[in-house]
Assembly symmetry: C2
Homo-oligomer: 223 residues x 2
Amino acid sequence: MEGLSARASNIGAGASSSDVILDALRTAIIRGELAEGQTLRQDAIAKMFNVSRIPVREALKQLEASGLVTSVRYKGVVVSRISVAEIQEIFDFRATVEPKLIAHAVPRMSQHSLDHAQQLCEAFAEETDGVRWGDLNRQFHSSLYLDAGLPYYFAAAEAANDRIERYIRAQLSLGHGRALAIAEHQQIIDACRAGEAERAADLTRKHIVKASESLTRIITERG
Amino acid sequence: MEGLSARASNIGAGASSSDVILDALRTAIIRGELAEGQTLRQDAIAKMFNVSRIPVREALKQLEASGLVTSVRYKGVVVSRISVAEIQEIFDFRATVEPKLIAHAVPRMSQHSLDHAQQLCEAFAEETDGVRWGDLNRQFHSSLYLDAGLPYYFAAAEAANDRIERYIRAQLSLGHGRALAIAEHQQIIDACRAGEAERAADLTRKHIVKASESLTRIITERG
DNA sequence: ATGTTGTATATTGGATACAATCGTGCAAGC
DNA sequence: GCTTGCACGATTGTATCCAATATACAACAT
């Protein structure tokens, strides 16, 4: 019996079709696999997942609520366009929210979390596949915020990152973005390990501001 | 031609059923007309609006994405419960975000916006109907943030307010909540009119913190 | 009495079918 | 040539129907 219950994984709690589709679309959008302005046809998506349009529409409604797509009645939904000003605003928002998270997390951070963050940092430094950089970078930052025990702040930060992740990925891939990030990540971990909450917060804020400036430079140069 | 285009308001962009339902449910939830934990039956809502369950489900998915309801597969959706700790966290979040908004808005604030805010402040002071207090209070604060031109911050603040508006309403109705709010609102307007962005921001932050403390006191006293 | 099992009902998730609307191309008229 | 009107296909919005699941309760065994 014990063996069974250990393996008994709540079959009913499995994800619904619309949950699966939501996750797939969300991932594709934030990775930039779906370009800005691209229209998403309900029928095409439904066929990809072998479902009817109903769960597709429900997933799209959720994406709309989180701002990743924009919907126009009888015309369709498109991947949301975002202006340079908005990108900068969202980076600024992150620079406001994320230092609060890490400052609150530091005195509560477990050894396990610190080790995990260190692992992610090293994996990020060693990774050669460019598309995985974004994943690891994102996981690294999230891992430092979880112990804060501030679910609303955390969700707000995650939502903000969703909106600009494609640009963060570009910034990591171009110029010295990644090399700088690695060094700064290590500094942040060190501050956390030393229990210096304010320093960790300040480093986090500077890290975000630098990424924003670097990205702005890239955009203005390349058009 | 100018007159026409000024009045030409997008007749095709009329709200869909699910938009109407979304708005009605959202309003009912944030006003507290639907209690926490109350389950929302698709069929019942569909009958209220004389539609099928499809647009109802789409509205519920959007509410779920914004956190106002919680959905469990095959069981239904319930109005999200929120703990005291979460309420305090969201007030803290507001105290972080809204000062930024008003500080950015002050140097950009039009005379019209100032006048409008003053009107709302006075209407709030004179209103006798308790349920309208919440509306006017909310409108007052929003009116001070619009000129900031920070749509992401603004949306984040609105979303945070949605989650705790029912408690703000309680806080306004009980004790000296409303009387204090009126005085503090006027101080904020005065700072805005004087162009003192930092003072307006600080008053806003204190206003939010005081409301949070007042509410916490009410909750702990009354259970 | 208590606990278990079968069954009926209520409710949600999803598929199919239909209605409403948009965009486009094309022909007619000026 | 340029505009106007219209027909048609493509696409979205919604209703209706069926399947999957949960919940409540009755029948039954111990």
